[in-house]
């Protein structure tokens, strides 16, 4: 039972939970990923996030070039700068991915999300709901004597704010598309 010869000043921490050289600040980034529109491509992208433990705050996907068969995936994710860099590099090496753009670092961009809200109620609540919808420039796309369905477009923050106000009035159901984003300007 001879004692262990460990040099002075050594600590005994785990190998995995100490990464002092990397920054710890969490950042929110919006990524635009242009992919070959082929079966399984979305599974590849989502599998990368789940397999490597990255966050997805929102994800939207649709074909944007019907002749070239390319789809655009917009992903909002959070992580440290090192993790965000890893995410873009890992996305870039998927064979069906053509381009990856980190819109948050590549310059100013515009983000929009669409949401549908179902609000039920009678009397004064209905009037208040319509008044708030007007303030937020939400449209009524369906109505009965006891309910409205509102359509609202805006940044995720605007939709959150609208939901917070509608909740006490009678918000019963909500559907959100997730963020679509483009860089500003000609480029």
């Amino acid at each position: 039972m001879s004692p262990l010869k460990i040099k002075k000043g050594s600590t005994s921490h785990s190998a995995y939970n100490l990464r002092p050289t990397f920054s710890d600040t969490q950042e929110r980034h919006t990524l635009a990923v242009l992919v070959e529109n082929e079966p399984g491509v979305l599974a590849r992208v989502i599998g990368l996030f789940s397999g490597r433990g990255y966050n997805i705050e929102s994800l939207t996907v649709a074909e944007v070039d019907h002749t070239g068969h390319t789809s655009r995936i917009t992903i909002v994710t959070t992580g440290t700068p090192q993790v965000i860099n890893q995410i873009t590099a890992q996305l870039g090496r998927i064979v069906s991915v053509h381009e990856v753009h980190d819109l948050t670092v590549e310059g100013r961009s515009v983000e929009r999300e669409l949401a549908l809200f179902k609000v039920t109620g009678r009397g004064e609540d209905r009037v208040e709901a319509l008044r708030l919808a007007d303030v937020f420039r939400a449209n009524v796309v369906d109505s009965t004597l006891e309910s409205f369905v509102f359509e609202i477009t805006g940044t995720p923050e605007k939709i959150d704010a609208f939901a917070d106000l509608m909740r006490p009035i009678g918000l019963v159901e909500m559907a959100r598309t997730g963020v679509a984003a483009l860089s500003r300007g000609a480029a």
């Binding site: 262990l4 010869k5 921490h13």
Partner: protein
Amino acid sequence: MAQMTGAKMVVQALKDQGVDVVFGYPGGAVLPIYDEIFQQNGIRHILVRHEQGAVHAAEGYARSTGKVGVALVTSGPGATNAVTGLTDALMDSIPIVVFTGQVPTFMIGSDAFQEADTVGITRPCTKHNWLVKETDALAHTIHEAFHVARSGRPGPVLVDIPKDVQFATGAYTTPRQMKSHYQPAVKGAIEGITDLVAAMEKAKKPVFYTGGGVINSGPAASQLLRELVEATGFPITSTLMGLGAYPASGDKWLGMLGMHGLYEANMAMHDCDLMINIGARFDDRITGRIDAFSPKSKKAHIDIDPSSINKVIQTDIPIVGDVGHVLEDILKVWKARGRKTDKEALASWWARIDGWRKVDCLSYTPSEKTIKPQYALERLEALTRDRTDRFICTEVGQHQMWAAQFMGFEEPNHWMTSGGLGTMGYGFPASIGVQLAHPEALVINVAGEASWLMNMQEMGTAVQYRLPVKQFILNNERLGMVRQWQELLHGERYSSSWSEALPDFVKLAEAFGAKGILCTDPADLDDAILEMLTHDGPVIFDCLVEKHENCFPMIPSGKAHNEMLLGAAETQGVIDAKGSVLV
């Protein structure tokens, strides 16, 4: 364009890709392809005894030739049995193409007999995969599969072919007609290369840390590496995967680094002021404790995969590109700037390294009664060193680390081992793949008895095709590495780390129609090894070794490079609670 059936297209595409050997196992969903293989002579099919064996054999073939390895298996269980091999190839960046049969397109999704969602299951364990639903697209897909497997950072790909697509007729596409948007960059940016050369000129304590990427880049990369090392006089160490890129007999060679690496290699990594990572990926077996990893060095990292940069260790000089191309440019720039190094500082750096070398970290207590595993490998090395056509495969565990420590590799592509995934059962089928690629060569699989049993059915393959692979089993009747960790970490409670019913390996060899040799006495070892080497056919060599030998040196989990354990006396209570959760 020539019209042909999908099955014929597979065979034609393989021929056009220069494939001469396919490792496989037939089944219902690949029968049309097997029918085509039967009716031609250009491609040789090797019948393995388990699909995992087919994929590992393809890996061994690929690793020892630099070509793409090919495996062919059926749907369902054939495909799921291939998953371990695919994952192994992904972790070690080995280029292979695996073909799987699939139930007919109109039955996909109906839970048909031997149906599995093969592309779904293998998506995370391949570089890319395809389910081909139209015969017209088949040939193009196969050519693209080969292109993706070998381009950029190599890796395994899979092509899933439903049976009706194999039967149907379509237009064949030649490799020249193949178009792929997948074109990874191979040239490194000149800014990074110039930064690195400037750092090399000033470095007082530099070290080259090389990995499997040098091997993958091709023989020219190894030559350039040798030229660079000799020209600069910098010391060089390598990961397990990179052994052979620089010759073990070279005087700049420090030996392997990492958890069971050499003392001088790990100390040089810890104390260096410039670390030049060439085609390695800062694996946790290499770095140990991240926050104490080479704390004072500037780090350069050359890798063809951008995601390897800054994944684990923050890099000061990142260079994304193919190792061969980048090394060529480094040499050019360094020569053009006057071939400068700090010779005075290098001399004192080498003096320190020589001091570490004197520790003689691989020394062990010899025995006249029992065969020490280290001694067995020293003798194997001594008796086979002169064979330039010697290929060594290994399984996974203590024997693998001892082989890396005690055997010297002079050339790239002569060392086949499962590094990233650590797949027990890899070595035997890999040795079959190597022997197929090099029929006259001496192919030895250094194994532990437990690993070897995991794919022992491949004895059938070795005997059927008269492959004279030598299975050199260091038999300690234990799961040696598990036992070692239980001794160091788990209070010597040896939970399920020994086998009570091992076969008689000599009789086992004879049962398969091969030769078995048992050796128990150190005095008999040389003669027994020579008997193995001179026998023209497959041999199982059962070398009964010391049962409780531990593998040293060792960096325990959660420790830094300068906290190595050199021998048994230092092992008590060394890994703390936090370290013990690591693997």
